[in-house]
């Protein structure tokens, strides 16, 4: 028989078995189990020699074949036939028939004219993200999968961001002190919120806040709020020159 078999061409062990049965022109209802087992094992073996990753499922099937083969060799005694009078191959045959049916249904699907492969719709109506699920009965139908997937992707991306923050721990409080003092110098009064507006990442928020605290401690800025929950304002208390002369030393700040 042909030695030139590649496992990856088969969608699974059942597919490989069907191929062997067909190429040996065997009757699927009367598989010559010894012959098939031998060939199957030879193929699996060769794959191993080639150091290919033989999927667990192929090995599992090999074990099942050996088991069936050994049961076929046992003389059919009365007691045994009472319990499992079935042909030891019966379960395998049933699975093979069932599998063959879906494999054929699959190739039939392949031959049916398919949207975007054989049949086309006007471009603007099939290019949108969820066009495929559009219906006119319900306002909108997206699948639960899309919903869960969206959340999942988001959580993953948030997580990666956190991870990156830790890695590039190069955000320096001193830099932020400088940034804030520059803005306070230019504008005299700046809303607290404004400093956080374009920072969506947590590390930057923290560093900005630390820098503010530092400036307050140095009495360079003042924080005020007119009423509870109204906007908080930062204003400059020291003179421009004073702020510019602030000598900011990372080591003195002692944030690591």
């Amino acid at each position: 028989m042909s030695v030139d078999i590649k496992l990856e061409k088969f969608s699974g062990p059942l597919d490989l078995l069907l191929h062997l049965i067909k190429s040996q022109e065997m009757d699927i209802y009367d598989i010559r189990i010894g012959e098939i087992t031998e060939q199957y094992l030879a193929i699996i073996d060769r794959m191993k020699q080639l150091d290919l990753d033989v999927a667990g499922e192929f090995l599992l099937m090999a074990a099942q074949l050996i088991h069936i083969k050994s049961r076929m060799l046992l003389p059919v005694s009365e007691e045994v036939s009472d319990e499992e009078g079935e042909d030891p191959r019966a379960e395998l045959i049933k699975r093979l028939l069932e599998y063959q049916r879906y494999k054929q249904a699959g190739s039939m699907f392949d031959q049916m004219p398919q949207l975007d492969r054989d049949i086309f719709l006007p471009h603007d109506s099939n290019s949108e993200v969820f066009a495929g699920t559009m219906t006119h009965n319900v306002d909108m139908t997206i699948s639960v999968y899309q919903l869960a997937n969206a959340f999942h992707m988001l959580m993953n991306s948030v997580k990666t961001e956190v991870f990156h923050e830790v890695v590039r721990e190069s955000l320096s409080v001193a830099d932020y002190i400088e940034k804030i003092s520059r803005r306070v110098t230019e504008h005299t009064r700046v809303a607290f919120r404004e400093f956080f507006a374009d920072h969506c990442n947590r590390a930057e928020l923290v560093v900005t806040f630390l820098a503010m605290l530092e400036l307050i401690r140095m009495q360079a800025i003042r924080i005020e709020q007119v009423a509870s929950f109204s906007d908080i304002w930062l204003s400059r208390t020291a003179s421009t020159e004073h702020i510019q002369r602030l000598h900011i030393d990372e080591e003195v700040l002692d944030y690591d």
């Binding site: 062990p13 499922e57 599998y99 049916r101 494999k103 699959g106 699907f109 699948s143």
Partner: protein, 185 residues
Amino acid sequence: MTELKALVEAFLFVSGSPLSIDKLAELAEADKVVIRSVISDLMEQYNASGRGVHLQEVAGGFQFRTNPDLAPGLRRLQKERPAKISPAALETLAIIAYRQPVTRAEIEYLRGVDSGGVMKTLLERNLLRILGKKDVPGRPLLYGTSRFFLEVFGLKDLNDLPTLKEFAALDPDLAEALPLEPNDQ
């Protein structure tokens, strides 16, 4: 009547997605029976040989689609080749189509191989949908085919799937196998 026919034609042209008789009746403010006869009129007109565009019944509605015979020429207009559905994915899709609602474990028993990756691809391509959870320990997810699946394969509904009998005719081996009918309750 002529104006109604024109209106239905225009609705179908503009809509893009399949429109049901009910929806067309509502939109055109006409009786369903009349709409039905207008549709069959239009189908006769469009589905004559030699037309570039056909009117097809699909996923519970009607839709203008290109004539499948023109596929080779039309592919020139497509910028990207659509990702081909692999044999493994088609096989999995077939199991789900005929066996729905079905769990991943059932699919894997039938295929004899891990099917997580293939199912994820099918879900991403919107060919599957999750029908709920099975009432057994562990509450595994139940899968079925989506409405988009019907659109892609040009099926009216799940009963439009070829039945086992047609299969049996192709391959006598299968005649004795388990009955296989689309399971759509």
